[in-house]
Subunit: 581 residues, 2 copies
């Protein structure tokens, strides 16, 4: 217990015994032995370069020192030596390195509080939207460098903005930050008067399209944070993004037999990657398990504490791929990606990315057929996202407008149904829906075609099939045996489990068992920055996972066929829906 408390920080304050004729060990060795007591280890790596002016500083600091530490595969490592009474904050950044979106969170390593968060689109998308195409682009050294540089530059730019967002004291025109609201595209950081308060702020800097910035507890700083105050960066991404971030050729990730170049990268100097934080700062990438099971999932498991649960649980991450982990304290089984063509252009492709104006909730009155939609931030509707689609499908099915094969029932859909080139469609906005009258800004029709509906059917069937195979065939459990059902990933954050159950996408278990984790990849990376003991847990997770490549075999296809019905050919699997139908 003592150990746990002691180790729960990467920043240590130590007082060294004074040197004397009877204690004439070297300064660095005296520091190491004082630290060794503090963190209960006798192997501490002290980079020789740090010694250059340590002797004089140590005496100026009266033999006291604040030490920033980190860990690698072989144990503790000294990152930097700071004045013991330094006013400057000691910061770290946790990163979710997504294929589509990247989120950075600034964290005070001493208080272990979040300071600010920024989200932005992965700039590699300008080269290639998906992972496959990016890997192809990285085949040449130049292409690889280009992709790496894009993401590193984006990190640097956004890290700078994160610092700017942390005002020293609450200033009225910084209301956006203080209220945790988001700065949208094109909004300028008005820094006329703030420039005096926080010297680092740049006037006129604009947020780019897709950038979202949040500052929390802006007043926690005595001085304006600078990039030099950032000593650690933890990054959780899938295997391909991790390779590209590190400038490592990812070619063989996608060629049989699907071999990553590296699974467990050692932490490296930020400088070596071109990451602009403290010149002695360290960057840690979460380890991969395999080509399709990356650090983002390890980070998610760490966040959910799946490896510590007393009874089997499941975690489902639906991002660019769908990944599933079943297990608890005693074992963990993971599968990822390759449900094959069934999932292609599948779940993650459904609808738009969640953003203001996107429909995330749909309600249809089964009696009147009246449709009610909700948009994110209640902005004028501009489209529908994945969770909205699932909601819509569930409502259509429950109100009889969709049959058990997932086909529109024209007579039930009424005026909202129309055909174009022989393809049936359902008009969600544009004609006769309840919200329309009061919402003149809905300029565009929002329509769901049978083709899109079929794609959703495939996706939901694939999802259910993966879950069934994992839980029943591989883990040998029943869905009811699961104590918790964790839904991770951006997509998961918005999903309505009841709707997902209604269409037979998620198993029909108690609603209370579902828990939305949010951006579990980011949360795991942030959790690590607050507790060095978690390095050991990551090792436990990594070594404890049995990783299975799901092949699209005949058995899977049989299961998949049944799952393409609403909710399923075997309705007994969905007792609560059976009661409603």
């Amino acid at each position: 217990m003592t150990k746990e408390i002691k180790n729960q920080s990467f920043v240590k304050y130590v007082e060294l015994p004074r040197p004397a004729l009877g204690n004439n060990t070297a300064d660095v060795e005296r520091l190491k032995s004082a630290l060794a007591k503090e963190i209960e280890t006798d192997t501490i790596f002290f980079p020789t370069g740090l010694a250059s002016d340590f002797a004089i500083k140590l005496r100026q600091w009266n033999h006291r020192v604040k030490v920033v530490l980190f860990k690698d595969s072989r144990g503790w490592r000294v990152v930097d030596l700071l004045e013991p009474d330094i006013k400057r904050p000691v910061l770290g950044i946790a990163a979710d390195l997504g294929t589509t979106r990247i989120v950075l969170r600034l964290i005070n390593l001493e208080s272990r509080k979040s300071c600010a968060e920024i989200g932005f689109d992965n700039p590699q998308a300008s080269i290639a939207p998906d992972v496959l195409a990016r890997i192809h682009h990285s085949r040449t050294q130049e292409g690889l460098k280009e992709l790496q540089q894009l993401v590193i530059s984006a990190f640097n730019e956004n890290i700078h903005l994160l610092c700017m967002a942390c005002a020293v004291e609450p200033i009225s025109s910084y209301g956006q930050f203080q209220s945790q609201a988001e700065l949208q595209t094109g909004q300028e950081l008005q820094t006329g008067q703030e420039l005096q308060a926080g010297q680092e702020l740049q006037t006129g800097q604009e947020l780019q399209a897709g950038q979202e910035l949040q500052a929390v507890q802006a007043s926690q700083f005595e001085v304006q944070p600078k990039i030099e105050d950032i000593h650690l960066l933890t990054v959780a991404g899938n295997s391909a993004m991790t390779h590209l971030f590190l400038g490592i050729d990812p070619s063989f990730l996608i060629r049989e037999p699907y071999i990553p170049a590296i699974n467990v990268p050692e932490p490296l100097e930020a400088d070596q990657l071109g990451i602009k934080i403290n010149k002695r700062g360290m960057v840690y990438l979460f380890p991969n398990i395999g080509s399709y099971f990356g650090g983002d999932l390890i980070s998610g498991i760490l966040f959910a504490d799946l490896h510590k649960k007393d009874a089997p649980c499941i975690m489902v991450d639906v991002g660019t791929n769908a990944e599933v982990v079943v297990g608890y304290r005693d074992w963990l089984i993971a599968c990822a990606g390759a449900a094959g063509p069934a999932l292609e252009g599948g779940i993650s492709d459904m609808g738009m990315t969640a953003k203001p104006g996107v429909i995330d909730t749909v309600k249809i009155d089964p009696l009147t057929g009246a449709v009610e939609v909700h948009t994110i931030e209640e902005k004028p509707a501009i489209g529908i996202c994945g969770s909205g689609m699932i909601d819509l499908a569930a409502q259509l099915f429950l109100s009889g407008m969709l049959d058990i094969r997932g086909k529109f029932v024209p007579e039930k859909c009424g005026k909202r149904y129309f055909e174009e080139d022989g393809v049936g469609s359902f008009r969600l906005i544009g004609y006769g829906h309840v919200a329309e009258a009061g919402n003149e800004h809905n300029l565009a029709d929002i329509v769901l075609t049978q083709v899109e509906m079929n794609s959703l059917t495939s996706s939901k069937a694939a999802m259910y099939s993966i879950l069934q195979v994992m839980v029943e065939k591989i883990a040998g459990l029943q869905f009811e045996d699961l104590e918790k059902f964790y839904v991770a990933g951006t997509f998961g954050s918005f999903i309505n489990p009841e709707s997902a159950i209604s269409i037979g996408m998620l198993p029909d278990i108690q609603i209370e068992k579902f828990e939305v984790l949010g951006n579990s990849s980011l949360e795991g990376a942030a959790k690590l920055l607050m507790n060095p003991d978690l390095f050991d847990e990551i090792d436990v997770i990594r070594k404890g996972i049995t990783y299975i490549e799901l092949n699209v075999n005949q058995e899977f296809m049989n299961i998949f066929s049944g799952a393409k019905f609403y909710p399923h050919t075997d309705v007994s699997r969905f007792p609560s829906i059976k009661a409603l139908c």
Copy 2:
């Protein structure tokens, strides 16, 4: 035994199991586990940067790879990955980093053969001749950088020359190299025809004053060695030189309580120091024990295997300071430097540095008084070195020309004795000595004054006193108990033990027990490059040594007073000399 053989190289050839659907671990992890079997460890540090193009190379190399390894305080570390059938040599450099002189030796890490050696004056002498003055100069950041840069640049320049010295095949005009002869000042590397053979050679490059270059086994290379072929550099120097080489402030080495900034520096990337070898190359500095007991001595102990002896031995290193280690397998006691004023301007200051033309041996016929001298390389006499001085003093004493207080006996010296300003002097060359007639090139008189003689007397007394204190007072042994008497350091290489015993500088033990180690600092550094197991031995030495600061107390001064006589006030200590007197 197997382990020993296996580990005795920093270069390993490994074949990796082929990746397959059933063995889809990442490339780096596959390499690490293959290596782990080879070197019997499960902690291998693999720098992430090395992974960048490893996947494609590994496949080009058909899953075979030559790995350059090194060690740090926590175990093995991968330095570089090479083509398995590479024609290029894999090289290392061992360095003796002396205050006055630096020697580099190029070693083939695979064949473990020496290739070439170069010696040059420490360029820091241009700033300040001695350690104290250099430390004073390093008080400012600029001064410290300047001193570091001087030595780093000299390393780079001489490393380049070492590569040039290694001709691919024996070429007649390269006779100097092949015959191990030395290139002297101003001699040009005639590279007219060699330029075709070894592309790296530069025409017209001149050796500077004090540079000495030797190439051995010039024909061992298939291709001309380049600096990129050099992967490892091991450096043994005293504590101050080690600090300055690393750019670490050495100020507190010389202020009470004499604290080094660092004792055990971790190996670091050559790049970080500006050392121009392979860009992934590593530099290792031997650890210090204290301010006055440096890595050069640890290296010497390693070379002499003092820590493995079955019976107590002594090792004496007389360089800029005098350092003494007594001990064997069970214990090691060291003392260094501070015999205080007794040694000031002492042993190391005697005479000239050994070089061609310097008198290193003197013989005086006790009956005729005829003087015979020998010069290094039998060149015309230009002066006398320390070992020549000891020889001279011994011969003078044994022939009665010097009394037991170390004063000239004019009536015995005859015409060679003269006085100037009341100071007696002995003319060694310039009048009536036997060699003069046949050696018209001896232009200058070579004279020894009573003042110089007194200084020698102090030095020899200090040396004997240190030895007596260490062996008798501290270790509680008698000189006869010592199984071996190792004499290290440049000075030691030329000393004649019989002469040193005659004047009472070294104890009167059997001549066979004396063993000259030569440049033991360089030899230890070279030995390490040939056997990774020695890292553990260095640790054993470092941790096993009891380090004692010798203070000039009354007891020491009493011993010192007796030792100022020839050979000693207590003649019973020198039975073999007593018989001659």
